[in-house]
């Protein structure tokens, strides 16, 4: 990143979003005695150790048995508990899709499916673990809420917010150390998009780690005299259609940015919204129908076209199509 960039949001510390989950879970557990945790042999990776230590009787190590974990969690809602399941995003979704579909979504159970190591930025473990289809799978399920926060603070706030929300939730976060650029005391409103930067020429709708890349892209575009609006879509479902339509009515074009397949991701949801309400040029940043591979998070975002430079290119393309 060019250090001379005049960023609208800055950071002094980097931290993984999964730590935001772990700290948020601990806080949610302190606030509500009905919060229980389940983990499939990844307590350290999911940062669930502090919750386990403070509430041992409310924590259930499930072993490497994710299907059972989802079923257990669904059953634990009967009697009033609020189960948070923790494993990698791949094993939280694709591996247990039918269990989630029948026992959680169709049964409308108050289960919070918390998924770490999502997307390319998992890094060196490679494509077996870099799930890029999870948002699509989860957003297709009726009753399911889908949330992908952008940094440590937002993930912590989201974790506490979903404990107070009645109904099944998929919470997606990640592994890499990432800039903390949103405030610690933020109020997390499920389903409410957050306009982080006002602009007039193009709207960048970003989710998860790519919100930071969008913030960097805005500064790069501004240097070239282009005014970009940055909207943080932390809740992919239900989608804040009103905010999306209002912004694009003003800017006339948009870019979606996500660490996910183009098929089934946030971009698809935005496209549906725009085509029905306010057709406008839309460019997509995401993985285009391929699996990932081993590498560092930064290398992978560059190779697969998901970083700030690519958002800048997409924004210019969208503007040219107006």
């Amino acid at each position: 990143m060019d250090k001379t960039l005049d960023l609208k949001y800055t950071y002094t510390e980097k931290k993984d979003t999964r730590s935001g989950f772990g700290d948020g879970l601990l806080e949610a557990g302190r606030r509500n005695p009905n919060v229980v945790g389940l983990c499939a042999d990844l307590i350290g990776s999911l940062k669930m150790g502090a919750f386990q230590k403070e509430f041992p009787e409310r924590f259930f190590q499930v072993g490497i048995a994710e299907a059972n974990m989802i079923g257990l969690a669904a059953g634990m809602t009967i009697g009033g508990k609020i189960p948070f399941t923790g494993t990698f995003a791949n094993f939280s979704t694709g591996r247990v899709y039918d269990q989630i579909r029948q026992s959680v979504a169709y049964s409308d159970k108050n289960v919070k499916i918390c998924a770490s190591h999502a997307g390319l930025t998992l890094g060196e473990d490679g494509a077996t673990h870099q799930i890029l289809e999870d948002v699509g799978m989860m957003k297709m399920l009726p009753h399911m809420t889908v949330i992908n926060p952008c940094d440590y603070n937002q993930t912590k706030a989201a974790t506490m917010a979903i404990a107070e929300h009645e109904g099944p939730v998929y919470l997606r976060f990640g592994r890499p150390s990432w800039p903390i650029f949103t405030p610690a005391d933020q109020k997390f409103e499920i389903g409410k998009a957050w306009k982080m930067i006002e602009g007039t020429d193009v709207t960048i709708f970003a989710t998860g780690h790519l919100v930071w890349e969008a913030v960097v892209a805005e500064a790069m575009l501004r240097e070239e005299g282009i005014s970009a609006e940055v909207i943080n879509i932390h809740t992919i479902k239900p989608l804040d259609e009103e905010a999306i339509i209002a912004s694009v009515k003003k800017t006339g074009c948009a870019v979606s940015a996500e660490e996910h397949q183009l098929n089934g991701g946030l971009g698809d949801s935005i496209a549906q919204t725009l085509i029905r309400n306010n057709p406008a040029p839309l460019e997509y940043i995401g993985v285009n129908d391929s699996f990932g591979e081993s590498g560092t998070p930064t290398e992978l975002l560059e190779k697969y076209g998901l970083n700030a430079e690519n958002i800048v290119k997409a924004a210019k393309k969208a503007i040219a199509r107006k």
Binding site: A65, A67, A73, A74, Q99, R101
Partner: protein
């Protein structure tokens, strides 16, 4: 629900079998075979064994809970729920029809009283039941959780994940029953995928196993459930291996997988109903 005596349980069973056949016949779809085979078990649970409240609330605090994992045998469950007051017996007329709460496989989406989780895709009920049982412990609720699985369902891997977990955590307020009728859709279980020694398998996984050899004899079913109950609270989950005959109660349906998922014709229904006394009044 008051505990019903043996003679009354036998009468109820006859009516439940009529309900099953009439429901499946009316819509020409559904699963009569294992519904008929599990009738004594369901009647014993809902009219004698379980403490339960037909006014129904999802959490079921202070009540025994029942989960049906092999959801395709919904007809027997719906009949027993209706006959014990969860909803009107008239509602059985809507089974599998459009806009019904009595879905082909049990569901919560339409808020049918008595159903706490959807089932149909096999292998998931035991996990949910164990979760509910652990919550009973957390809530210091000393009632039991019951779950029924099919024997063919034992081929699903999730069942064994749950079996391992139940023993690891000593979930001893749970009685899981297997409808051991040795049949599945494509034929006898030993031909489709041999279950071998199920009793030994569950024991090896750390469960107490009760074997109910005569699962269509009401006295034996009650004795098996009492035995299972006596083994709860001792640190291990309990498995009740319930030997039944698919299609029991109707001479041309008994003992074959052929009636797993097909409906009787008008003539077949008349023949079958002729073998089953109408004891509580047809819906």
């Amino acid at each position: 629900m008051e505990k019903q005596p043996l003679a009354q349980l036998t009468k109820i069973s006859s009516q439940v079998r009529r309900d099953i056949l009439r429901m499946v016949h009316a819509v020409q779809s559904g699963h009569p075979g294992a519904s008929l085979g599990c009738t004594e078990f369901f009647v014993a649970l809902y009219f004698n064994q379980m403490k339960h409240d037909s006014s129904f609330n999802m959490d079921g605090v202070g009540e025994d809970l029942f989960f049906l994992s092999n959801g395709h045998i919904s007809p027997v469950w719906y009949s027993v729920l209706a006959r014990s007051g969860y909803f009107s017996v008239e509602e059985m007329k809507t089974f599998r029809k459009l806009n019904s709460r009595l879905q082909g496989h049990p569901a919560t989406e339409e808020h049918l009283p008595g159903v706490r989780i959807a089932s149909g895709s096999l292998g998931q009920g035991l996990s949910a039941a164990i979760g509910a049982a652990q919550v009973k412990k957390l809530n210091q609720d000393d009632r039991l959780v019951y779950v029924l699985m099919g024997d063919g369902e034992q081929q699903e891997g999730q069942v064994w994940e749950a079996a391992m977990y139940g023993a690891h955590y000593g979930v001893d307020n749970l009685i899981a029953t297997i409808d051991f009728n040795r049949q599945q859709i494509d034929g006898p279980t030993k031909d489709v995928m041999d279950l071998k020694d199920l009793k030994a398998k569950w024991e090896a996984f750390g469960w107490e196993v009760v074997e109910t050899v005569e699962g269509n004899n009401m006295e034996a079913v009650l004795a098996g459930l009492e035995k299972a109950k006596s083994l709860t609270g001792k640190g291990k989950p309990v498995l009740n291996l319930l030997h039944t005959e698919m299609g029991y109660g109707v001479d041309f349906m008994v003992g074959t997988h052929k009636w797993h998922g097909i409906a009787p014709s008008d003539e077949q229904l008349a023949n079958a109903l002729g073998q089953l006394e109408e004891t509580l009044g047809d819906y």
